[in-house]
Symmetry: C2
Subunit: 206 residues, 2 copies
């Protein structure tokens, strides 16, 4: 018999951040494909849709006025301005899933990650780092960049961002993709065993 | 090059507790055999040595006067009286290993586990629970007990002890031994990625 307590099970919120070039996108895709119970949340943005992007699937495409109204009304778990456009995670998206007991994973910028941790201290925040600045430089080079100034800017930004790692719960090095993904899956699995999350099972045992 | 920061790496203290009959001993043995970097700490006791037990290996066998002196001098990380004998974990044992950057795992009674968590909040505490009281009853029966009163006493104690699960960081159900061991190994692996433990790697990356 499922006890009443069981119904109170809340989903877990997981936040993934890291400097650009650390391979967050690929890591997230792999993690979500290996743990099918994880849910992605759809962000809102003022950026115009790119070809093939679907409203409500890739993003909620809204205009700046609406976005800023939502900010004023406290409707974002986190938001940030990036290259002139706003990006944000609506509370409604995340809360619905969490209340249904589903785990949600967000890949967000470091500023947003810190906002989430302040608002939801029980969220699990994971910071992905490259094995070294040298490797990061090589990865950015491999992706192709416009010019060497752009490269130096990106490395400087990465160095500044790395200093925020200590504000996250976990630091995972992305040296080998497979290992990095396994480490993140291991963190998620362990966090599900945190006593404050599964204390209800004690009633089931009794 | 190993940075200076690296030298500051402290070992991690892991505490394993749970009601009797949950299979803690077996779980601990398996965990330690699978993760060879874990170290056991030798406890002190006033109980006389059993045949084959070696002083300094199985226990430090000391008399009651010396034990109580050590208690007075605050030399125990935790201690408890059990069936008329004292048992305790000397600080010196654990600190030496932790300072050398080695991880230590302790299997202790629930009262002791709560003492450790108070003194070392950064310790990782894991509470093992049986899948149900019915299963616990069967396991105690399988081990053989003296009489039915003894059984009821043990079950009553277990029920009381289960209420302390929420004071531990993690709750792991021991339904299937192999799975329980994997879960504990996963917790240990994840805890090693906690940012406050490995923040020094940011300096290495930079």
């Amino acid at each position: 018999m499922i006890s009443e307590e069981t119904h109170k099970k809340q989903g877990m919120l997981i936040v993934l951040s890291g400097p650009s070039g650390t391979g967050k996108d690929t890591v997230l895709r792999e993690v979500v494909s290996k743990d099918r119970t994880l849910n992605l949340s759809v962000s809102a943005t003022t950026r115009p849709p790119r070809e093939g992007e679907v409203d409500g699937k890739d993003y909620y495409f809204i205009n700046k006025k609406n976005f800023l109204n939502m900010v004023k009304e406290g409707k974002f778990l986190e938001y940030a301005k990036y290259c002139g456009n706003y990006y944000g995670t609506p509370f409604s998206e995340v809360d619905g899933l969490l209340d249904a007991g589903k785990d949600v994973i967000l890949e967000i910028e470091i500023d947003g990650g810190c906002q989430v941790k302040k608002r939801c201290p029980e969220a699990v925040s994971i910071f992905i780092v490259p094995p070294s600045i040298g490797v990061l430089r090589q990865r950015i080079l491999n992706r192709g960049i416009d010019n060497i100034n752009n490269m130096e800017d990106r490395l400087e930004t990465a160095k500044k961002e790395l200093k925020f790692a200590g504000k996250y719960d976990y630091i995972v090095v992305n040296d080998n993709l497979e290992e990095c993904v396994l480490n993140i899956l291991s963190i998620i699995k362990s966090e599900r065993m945190k006593s404050f999350r599964i204390n209800y099972i004690i009633n089931e045992v009794l």
